[in-house]
């Protein structure tokens, strides 16, 4: 989230699209209710199903899953055509005025530079024209046909209300009503918030779904303001934190990136991360990259990371592919190229796509280790559970070790919520049996592995034996010790670079924030964006002061919000070029002639003059990007692509199948149903129910009683077409698997008319498996395709094809 849950009360219009907050985030959704009741805010819900969020919406518009980009570019087109643009914001705070290279074009569904054999682009033409002064060239009059604004205008022009209706199945009048309501928020004194979740991410073009809305929000001037923003409703309690701390194949903590093997040494690594400003006077904050990078290396290897060994740069593993995400991991397993896999609180047998492939892959491992408070399906993938896990244990040679870990109630530390609040929690119960904390388990693995290397020697033990592990009890580092490492400290006394007589941080003390970090090895910091969370003022994440001056919803003294306790990202953009709030009733920070101040920590240098320094300080442009240059794999603008399995062909690019830049492994393409397949004619999607959380609550007695049994949802029209009765049994199958379920026949789902064809939606909730207190059942991953988003490999769970038929139920 750029904003926070409590900030939603400040909005005028809530758009829930790609999510279902009323059911999946019920207590956060209360802030929507608050805005509706007390501010007169309105709610729009766009979804294939009439969800509980939709049931309290002012306008509900149905949409075919996987067509969100066409819908959103349609809204952008509407805003441009009807002059509903926050012009001052767009001209000053976006790259609308920037001139793009002549070689860039979009034609027949593809951007310039496409290589079909590699399924990848040469992105060199997706770039600004750079002048002799080294800066990007701009046209403040927006008359140059090659400026971003004019390219965008042309790019979205095909997404007319008629085209949106044909692609999305959204009735034209519904679309126009939504577009009109949204466009009203182009006024500087009206704002809209976007609330989305995995309904947008779990597509082969998930990142571009989100970009489309981000672009719309920029055009409306809604980023950086109270009641605005792009608000990702993260699905799990600390998935924001796990990502912030960099637990992904290609990341270092704080969104620094791991080197690739092309970056042969420290200097070549840093050379691509120089981030020189692209316009005069801009901050381009990533110029501090080296300070954060060196401080991370120091937090890893302490005194063994020295200027002489480039702070142990060589000890970081170097990537040969963009990333070893969970899909690539299972692909490698399936190819027999992996020996072991360790799952900490993650149940991939139900969470990753194409379960048949997952079972085959896990069966090829030599060993599997699970760490979990609950008895997961993954830990028992080798165990026969009839139709629910039809395997022969004697044929599976994988050694499985299942380790019992503590749950939240027995553990201490911080979780980062959607709104970037790091909140500390304390343990209140004794763990059951011999369950241990994850800190203890990870420490044991490290200590014992280190001991083996010391005793036996072995291949390149240096990064293991030199890992900084100086905890009071090395067998179980405490949460406080680790939090202090994340915050960072000074090894030597740090002096003010502009005034060497002034001490900034004494040697041995924790740094107040990342501003104090250095690139010479005199500081360490586990995760620069978390710096300040546990400084010398104490554990700021444990703060519980509920004061909220003027009731802005900021709650600045509650917990700690990254970065530097900032509650709304890009908040400089809430004020105009003179530093005055666009909307005086929603003041956030303002310029008083000397400095910025207000309700939030300014997202800009406190003395940066408003007319000179742009608000998007992380970008070398100083402005936000409507055209994203070569930074995304599948295009500098979003474009409509159908899901890999689609009930229709792509109307705007008939020859393009799926997202042309998405990675597809050999063998998986053959397992996709053809577009508009007769064999698999129905458009399936997956979702959560309000009574359940992922695959956890089926272990919880109360929730297992509330929703005991797996089912699928279909429309009355499809039910009557197929002879399926309410509560009857059905078989649902895709090209990859087959499941049996009870049928819920509902008015909540209706066929969508797409270009003259009725598209039926089959809804598949995701909460059942073969362990726990609920009845045994299936999950959508028995059916879903093994393909992910082109940029970040989130599997395409929300749009795939199935067939359905009535069947006899199980013998009682």
């Amino acid at each position: 989230m750029t904003n926070s849950w409590t900030d939603i009360k400040n909005t005028d219009l809530v758009v829930i699209m790609g999510g279902n907050a009323a059911e999946a985030h019920p207590c956060g959704f209360k802030w929507v209710t608050e805005a509706k009741a007390n501010r007169g805010a309105r709610l729009i819900v766009v979804d294939p199903r009439f969800t509980r969020s939709a049931s309290v919406a002012d306008v509900y518009a149905p949409i075919r899953q996987g067509s969100d980009i066409a819908f959103l570019l349609g809204v952008i087109n509407y805003c441009i055509q009807n002059d509903k643009v926050h012009w001052d914001y767009v001209k000053a705070f976006t790259n609308a005025t920037y001139i793009v290279k002549d070689g860039f074009e979009y034609k027949d569904g593809l951007f310039s530079g496409y290589d079909e054999t590699k399924r990848d682009y040469d992105k060199s033409s997706w770039e600004y024209v750079i002048g002799e002064d080294g800066y990007a060239q701009v046209d403040d009059t927006l008359t140059n046909p090659r400026c971003v604004w004019n390219l965008l205008k042309t790019h979205v022009s095909i997404y007319t209300p008629e085209m949106v209706e044909r692609i999305c199945g959204t009735p034209r009048d519904k679309f126009l009503k939504v577009a009109e309501m949204i466009s009203e928020c182009s006024s500087p004194i009206k704002t809209m918030t976007s609330m989305y979740a995995l309904g947008w991410t779990q597509h082969s073009k998930g990142s571009q779904n989100i970009r489309s809305m981000a672009m719309l929000q920029l055009i409306l001037g809604n980023i950086g303001v109270r009641g605005g923003g792009m608000n990702a409703l993260r699905g799990h309690s600390n998935i924001q934190g796990l990502t912030d701390v960099g637990l992904m194949s290609n990341l270092l903590p704080g969104y620094l990136t791991l080197p690739t093997e092309k970056e042969v040494d420290f200097d070549s690594y840093m050379s691509t991360r120089a981030f020189k400003p692209l316009r005069p006077n801009q901050m381009s904050y990533w110029q501090n990259y080296k300070k954060f990078f060196v401080s991370v290396l120091k937090s890893m290897w302490g005194s063994a990371a020295t200027p002489e060994n480039h702070f142990a740069y060589d000890w970081l593993p170097k990537l040969d592919v963009p990333g070893y995400d969970v899909l690539r991991a299972f692909e490698l397993m399936n190819q027999g190229k992996m020996t072991g896999y360790m799952c900490q609180g993650f149940n991939p047998l139900l969470a990753a796509p194409n379960r048949t492939k997952l079972t085959a892959s896990l069966s090829k491992l030599k060993f599997l280790v699970t760490m979990d408070p609950l008895d997961t399906e993954t830990a028992r993938f080798w165990e026969n559970h009839g139709e629910f896990n039809d395997v022969d244990p004697s044929q599976i040679q994988t050694e499985v070790i299942q380790l019992p870990s503590t749950c939240f109630a027995e553990d201490e530390g911080s979780l980062t919520n959607s709104g970037r609040w790091l909140q500390w929690h304390w343990p209140g119960g004794t763990p059951p049996g011999e369950a241990k904390t994850d800190n203890w388990i990870m420490a044991q693995i490290h200590i014992r592995l280190k001991e083996l290397y010391r005793k036996e020697g072995g291949v390149f033990p240096d990064p293991i034996v030199n890992l900084d592990w100086a905890y009071a009890d090395p067998a179980e580092p405490s949460a406080e010790e680790l939090a202090k490492e994340l915050n960072g400290k000074a090894y030597a006394t740090l002096y003010d670079p502009t005034d060497p007589t002034k001490v900034v941080v004494e040697a041995g003390k924790r740094v107040p924030s990342f501003a104090a970090l250095r690139d010479d090895g005199s500081t360490s910091c586990g995760c620069w964006i978390y710096s300040g969370c546990f400084n010398e003022n104490g554990n700021n994440m444990a703060r519980r002061d509920t004061s909220d001056p003027d009731e802005t919803g900021a709650y600045s003294k509650w917990a700690f919000s990254w970065p530097v306790n900032r509650r709304i990202l890009y908040n400089r953009a809430s004020a105009d070029l003179n530093g005055k709030a666009w909307d005086p009733s929603r003041k956030l920070i303002e310029w008083d002639g000397q400095k910025w101040s207000g309700y939030d920590v300014p997202d800009i240098a406190p003395t940066a003059k408003p007319s000179e320094v742009g608000p998007f300080i992380m970008n070398p442009e100083g402005v936000s990007r409507l055209f994203v240059r070569g930074m995304m794999r599948d295009g500098p603008f979003p474009a409509h692509y159908e899901p890999f399995e689609s009930p229709v062909t792509n109307l705007v690019a008939p020859n393009v199948r799926g997202n042309p830049a998405a990675r597809v492994f050999k063998g998986d393409f053959e397992q996709f149903a053809e577009p508009a397949s007769e064999e698999f004619p129905y458009a399936a999607t997956s979702y959560r129910l309000t009574e359940h959380f992922h695959y956890w609550t089926k272990h919880v007695w109360v929730n297992a009683v509330l929703q005991p049994e797996f089912f699928v949802e279909i429309s009355e029209e499809l039910a009557s077409e197929k002879g399926i009765v309410k509560g009857g049994w059905v078989r649902v199958w895709s090209k990859r698997g087959s499941i049996r379920a009870k049928a819920v026949v509902t008015k909540r789902i209706k066929p969508l008319m797409c270009d003259g064809k009725a598209v039926h939606v089959v809804g598949i909730p995701l909460h059942w498996g073969f362990t726990g207190a609920a009845k045994k059942g299936f999950g959508p991953n028995s059916l879903t395709p093994f393909v992910g988003d082109a940029n970040i490999e989130t599997p395409e769970y929300k749009a795939f094809l199935v067939n359905i038929e009535p069947v006899a139920g199980p013998v009682a």
């Binding site: 699905g235 309690s237 244990p393 070790i401 059951p432 994850d438 586990g526 959380f693 109360v702």
Partner: protein, 199 residues
């Protein structure tokens, strides 16, 4: 029998049996004891309160856990009740159908209690001691790492990577556990490393 006394009955009884000054000096005496005995104590009075966060979605509602026993005093503690934290700015005491049932998660029958091992080809899990389980894990890890660790690629560039054993990190562990995990996994040179952000 309902022994609850109204305030009027109580004062009447007190006035009849005890002198006024004694009331102030010594409390209400027998009548008070009788009254206290008659009322079942509020169940949470003798419990320990601990602040925590709901572990499900990332609204991150504040919760209060009540337990018999106090971990801070080194006692065994059994959580007996969990409810929304009314002071929390986001949820203000409310919880959804998942959060409201958290106690049953803590006490789920399928909570794991002991390390288990399933041997190749076996159809069952067997108990294993922590010490043996951990020794076995690092043995398997080291054997694979020593056999498959790549120090240099074909171009002779130092790459120091290990891609034959992978690690999937969680979605609900703390940031502190995440950092400890990061250090352990990366220092071993692992690249096959992901979390649940995608699913």
């Amino acid at each position: 029998m309902n022994m609850e006394l109204s305030r009027r009955q109580f004062l009447g009884a007190a006035g009849a049996g005890v002198a006024g000054t004694a009331l102030g000096a010594f409390g209400f005496g027998e009548i008070e004891a009788a009254h206290a005995e008659a009322i079942r104590a509020f169940k949470l009075v003798n419990t320990t309160e601990t602040r925590n966060t709901c572990p499900y979605c990332s609204v991150a509602c504040g919760i209060i856990m009540y337990s018999k026993g106090d971990l801070k005093k080194g006692e065994k503690a059994e959580i007996t009740h969990i409810e929304g934290d009314t002071d929390h700015p986001t949820n203000r005491g409310t919880l959804c159908p998942k959060g409201a049932a958290l106690l049953d998660f803590v006490k789920a029958e399928t909570r794991l209690k002991y390390p288990m091992i399933r041997k190749p080809g076996s159809d069952k899990f067997e108990r294993i001691a922590w010490n043996d389980a951990l020794d076995r894990i690092v043995r398997l890890m080291k054997d694979d790492r020593d056999a498959n660790f790549v120090q240099k690629n074909n171009d002779g560039v130092t790459v120091n990577r290990w891609t034959t054993t992978g690690f999937l990190a969680a979605s609900a562990t703390t940031n502190e556990t995440a950092f400890a995990t990061y250090k352990v996994v990366r220092s071993a040179g692992m690249l096959v490393f992901d979390n649940q952000a995608r699913v």
